[in-house]
């Protein structure tokens, strides 16, 4: 036995998770070196702050989340000064002073002062009932509020903490609403798809969310909060308002002591501050420019710090972050970045039946990020691969299916791997079909194609991501008689579903937003592509005209700016001229606009309208304003929708005209204008069979005859030239309008995006269209649906833009670069 050397004095400021863990790590390495004193501002032992959410939700008690009880401090000889906030640090005298004047000297000092919840500087922030979510006192205040019957809570902040707070309050019986500034919940961790699923899952648990919401003022009465007022004027009533909008490092002491502080207390890789005997750890530090608010990096910092305090070489390298949401039954995991740069690719897996969404991002052959919703079991595995920087190129094919499948197949070529799979191995995760079930169905029922297998076993019938595996099984079972599949054409490379399947699902399953469709139909990309997004936008608009909000970013540029883009990037503008009629005043206004804006070309179009060509994008709103002022609206010459109704002069002027074709053309155009369709739609009305308006090569045509009206359909004069077929004959103008509106609606509901009327007709058959538009009941129903949707469609987009909607589209973001010398 040697004489014990006197222990060095180690003082820790902060009795939270970082401070205590640092001490634990030091004691683990060298239990005898230090006499440890810990100061804690809260009057209680060390507890697991991140488990406050389950405490709030009533899923755990405070006792369950204590990390180190009093016995631990006693057994380890650690002196705890609880409820004594440190007021100053003297770096020269090497001592700290706490409330009540207690002064303690140190040889080594650890700052673990954590962080403070950020409070929005809103008027009314000092009302009673406005709290943050940081410590047990906050939780108690929230519990107190929730115990009043019928109490309502608003939580500002749709991040991890805010959602956990709202969920906990909902569990305690409060009506809870989360108000979030961004348009995606937990937008730093989740992409839009996962954010959408999370929103739905929270709604199921009684938590409502208001996205894109700017808080303006906290309102109250008699000193007590009564609601939150948003910038748009809405007031969300509440009895409790929780601010969970972020944290900032608590650096007050460090700053006052004269240590280097940036956003947090600056430390090196050994967690040493600008004073060699003072260390800092946890949320109060800034390491390599980074501040952390999660627990895993804190553990890593504590290890580096303990190394440094026990003669080791502490080297903290910074952390890759991962997040899990602690809301019961909502499995969410996120790590790394879900948006990368060069060479990044996404693998997306969606299982609508189980409500699962997984996305991994691969960058330079390595895993760069993962977002998992609904099944986060493999989160840890992905995280390990990410931290290790492992090369995942060789397991790319199966990576998304998780650890079990990937490791089960590693090192084997696909067919050998499939051959080696046991019969009990699940192949189709969506429908729970194992290899044995597929093999026996193939042999027992003589299946020869992928479609057969899908129909009989349901394997590969949902998201389709197991299709290659199912094909391998089929190949193995059939040998040489296997032929690769050529199925119906999918909507695009993002989904194996056909346009028809997508349209049916939107209506049958009541899917009302793009993320809802992508999840339910198991899209393999995070946000679709330039092919499927415009199609989905149209399908949703057609199915839910009164509810769906048009997504501007899913429209082609022509529809986005209400003008046709030309080869040089300028635009062409076509004012509407109903039925082709115009007036001297309109012509004068058009001429004035052409001169005023130096529009280089004015041309009459094939559809009897005037085209102003070569308009600069920035000029568009001003051009429209002038045309609007002369009483003209957009001619939709750019639209996948109704464009023009061409007419001849008819019975008014023509010696052969049998009916008022110009009048009918104007009536049709005024009735149909603004309606969106799968592709452009052109009409014409000819006053007699001489057909001067060329009605028999239009999508819908009317040829007036003595006895009434011949309604034509399915003409084309574009890439493909084809005469119309007669759909039906009617006696009156009213009937003509009814039939055409019904046929238009049928095309709107059945046509695939970009499928012209004649192609749709070839696909479904003229007979099927005729049967529906001539049956009085069906015609009426189609007509009514068309009229309903027109209530929301007959809007002049020019006037809306002139009034300032989406102004940013037409103005450059900034001109400051223009003044930079080249």
């Amino acid at each position: 036995m040697t004489q014990a050397t006197p222990k060095l004095r180690l003082v820790v400021i902060g009795n939270g998770m970082a401070g205590c863990r640092a001490v634990e790590e030091v004691l683990k390495r060298d239990p005898d070196r230090y006499a440890v004193t810990i100061f804690g501002a809260e009057p209680r032992v060390n507890y697991n702050r991140i488990m406050l959410s389950p405490v709030l939700a009533g899923e755990k008690a405070f006792e369950d989340i204590v990390i180190n009880d009093e016995a631990w401090y006693r057994d380890n000889g650690v002196t705890l000064c609880a409820g004594r906030a440190v007021t100053s640090v003297d770096l020269v005298a090497r001592s700290v002073t706490a409330e009540g004047g207690l002064e303690v000297g140190y040889d080594k000092l650890i700052l673990a002062t954590g962080s403070d919840p950020f409070r929005l500087p809103l008027p009314g922030g000092d009302l009673k009932g406005v709290v943050t979510f940081r410590d047990l006192d906050d939780v108690n205040a929230m519990l107190d509020a929730s115990s009043r019957p019928g109490a309502r809570a608003v939580v500002i902040g749709g991040g991890l903490l805010g959602l956990e707070a709202a969920y906990g309050l909902a569990r305690r019986g409060m009506a809870a609403t989360v108000v979030h500034l961004m348009d995606v919940l937990m937008e730093r961790q989740l992409d839009e798809s996962a954010g959408y699923l999370l929103r739905e899952a929270l709604a199921d648990r009684g938590v409502e969310t208001v996205l894109g919401a700017h808080s303006e003022e906290i309102v109250g009465a008699d000193g007590q909060v009564t609601g939150l007022k948003l910038k748009d004027g809405r007031v969300l009533p509440c009895d409790l308002l929780v601010m969970a909008v972020g944290i900032r490092p608590n650096t007050t002491l460090a700053k006052a002591a004269g240590l280097t502080v940036n956003r947090g207390v600056a430390v090196d890789d050994a967690m040493r501050t600008s004073d060699p005997d003072v260390f800092a750890v946890g949320e109060c530090v800034e390491h390599r420019g980074q501040c952390y608010g999660l627990v895993a990096p804190i553990w890593e910092m504590c290890r580096a710090l303990a190394q440094a305090l026990t003669d080791g070489e502490g080297s903290y390298q910074g952390s890759v972050l991962s997040t899990r949401l602690k809301v019961s039954g909502v499995d969410v995991f996120s790590a790394g970045k879900f948006a990368g740069g060069e060479g990044c690719e996404d693998i997306v897996f969606r299982d609508a039946a189980r409500g699962v969404y997984k996305r991994v991002v691969i960058e330079d052959g390595k895993l760069a990020g993962a977002v998992l919703f609904g099944d986060a079991a493999d989160g840890g595995w992905y995280f390990d691969l990410m931290k290790a920087g492992a090369d995942v190129a060789s397991i790319r094919e199966t990576l998304i299916f998780g650890q079990a499948i990937t490791e089960g197949l590693s090192g084997l070529d696909p067919s050998a791997a499939v051959a080696a799979m046991p019969d009990t191995q699940e192949i189709c995760g969506c429908n729970g079909v194992c290899k044995g079930a597929i093999t026996s169905a193939i042999t027992a029922q003589g299946l020869t194609t992928l479609d057969d297998v899908r129909a009989v076993t349901k394997a590969s019938a949902s998201c389709g991501s197991c299709t290659p595996l199912v094909e391998q099984v089929l190949k193995l079972a059939l040998g040489d008689s296997f032929q690769a599949q050529i199925g119906p054409k999918p909507i695009c490379k993002c989904s194996p579903k056909t346009h028809g399947e997508v349209r049916r699902a939107i209506v049958d399953q009541g899917l009302k937003s793009m993320p809802a469709v992508m999840q339910a139909l198991e899209w393999s990309t995070p946000d679709g592509c330039a092919s499927c997004r415009p199609a989905l936008n149209y399908y949703l608009l057609c199915a839910w005209p009164g509810e769906y909000r048009d997504d501007k970013q899913s429209r082609y540029i022509n529809e986005r700016v209400h003008a046709n883009i030309q080869k040089d990037g300028t635009y062409s503008v076509v004012p509407r001229m109903w039925g082709g009629m115009t007036s001297p005043a309109e012509l004068r206004a058009i001429a004035d606009v052409a001169e005023k804006f130096a529009i280089p070309a004015v041309k009459v179009t094939g559809g009897q309208r005037i085209d102003l060509l070569g308009v600069k994008k920035d000029d568009l709103p001003a051009v429209w304003a002038d045309l609007n002022a002369a009483g003209m609206v957009s001619g939709h010459a750019y639209a996948k929708g109704l464009r023009t109704v061409k007419t001849c002069v008819g019975s008014d002027w023509c010696r052969f005209g049998t009916q008022d074709s110009t009048g009918l053309g104007m009536r049709l155009e005024k009735f149909l204008w603004g309606s969106w369709a799968p592709a452009k739609v052109k009409l014409a009305v000819s006053g007699c069979p001489r057909n001067c308006a060329e009605a028999t090569c239009k999508d819908f045509g009317v040829v007036c005859v003595d006895s009434g009206y011949e309604i034509h359909i399915g003409g084309a004069a574009g890439l493909h030239i084809q005469g119309t077929q007669v759909l039906t004959r009617v006696a009156t103008e009213d009937e003509a309008v009814w039939v055409i509106a019904a046929a238009m609606q049928l095309y709107r509901e059945e046509g695939w995006y970009l499928e012209r009327v004649y192609k749709w007709m070839d696909r479904v058959g003229l007979e099927s269209i005729r049967a529906q538009v001539t049956d009085p009941d069906q015609r009426r129903a189609l007509y009514d649906r068309f009229v309903y949707s027109q209530r929301f469609a007959r809007i002049d987009p020019w006037a809306e833009r002139v009034a300032g909607r989406h102004n940013e589209e037409f103005t450059p973001m900034s001109r400051r670069m223009e003044f930079v010398p080249a």
Partner: protein, 114 residues
């Protein structure tokens, strides 16, 4: 021999949120328009606003994932590299403009870009 080191000049052109998600904005410059894109995930990229194919304004295209589809002839351009993707891979590249985000502001630099 030493070459003079030029410190890049960063110019603030606006807030990240001025660019709509899955959308783009233009910034005129002496070298021509610059297109700034913001993905659905909230990432921002800057390219010269000129498709390598026939000069189509990329800022007018549909943004999906980390790509934009040119509005003129539907070439897909990788936002990070400016390279044409898919069938047109290797056929051309829209110059990448140096871009930095600081406190939610977009900073562009033309130095060394062109």
């Amino acid at each position: 021999m030493s070459t003079p080191v030029k410190t890049p000049v960063w110019i603030d052109v606006g807030a990240v949120t001025d660019v709509p998600r899955r959308g783009a904005r233009r910034v005129p410059s002496p070298q021509g328009d610059i297109a700034i894109f913001r993905t659905g995930d909230g990432d921002v990229f800057a390219l010269m606003d000129k498709c390598p194919h026939k000069g189509g304004p990329l800022s007018e295209g549909i943004v999906h994932g980390r790509a934009v589809t040119c509005p003129l002839h539907a070439w897909n351009i990788d936002l990070a590299t400016g390279e044409a993707m898919g069938a047109d891979k290797g056929k051309g590249c829209a110059p990448v403009i140096a871009l930095r985000v600081e406190d939610g502001r977009l900073l562009l630099s033309l130095d060394g870009n062109l």
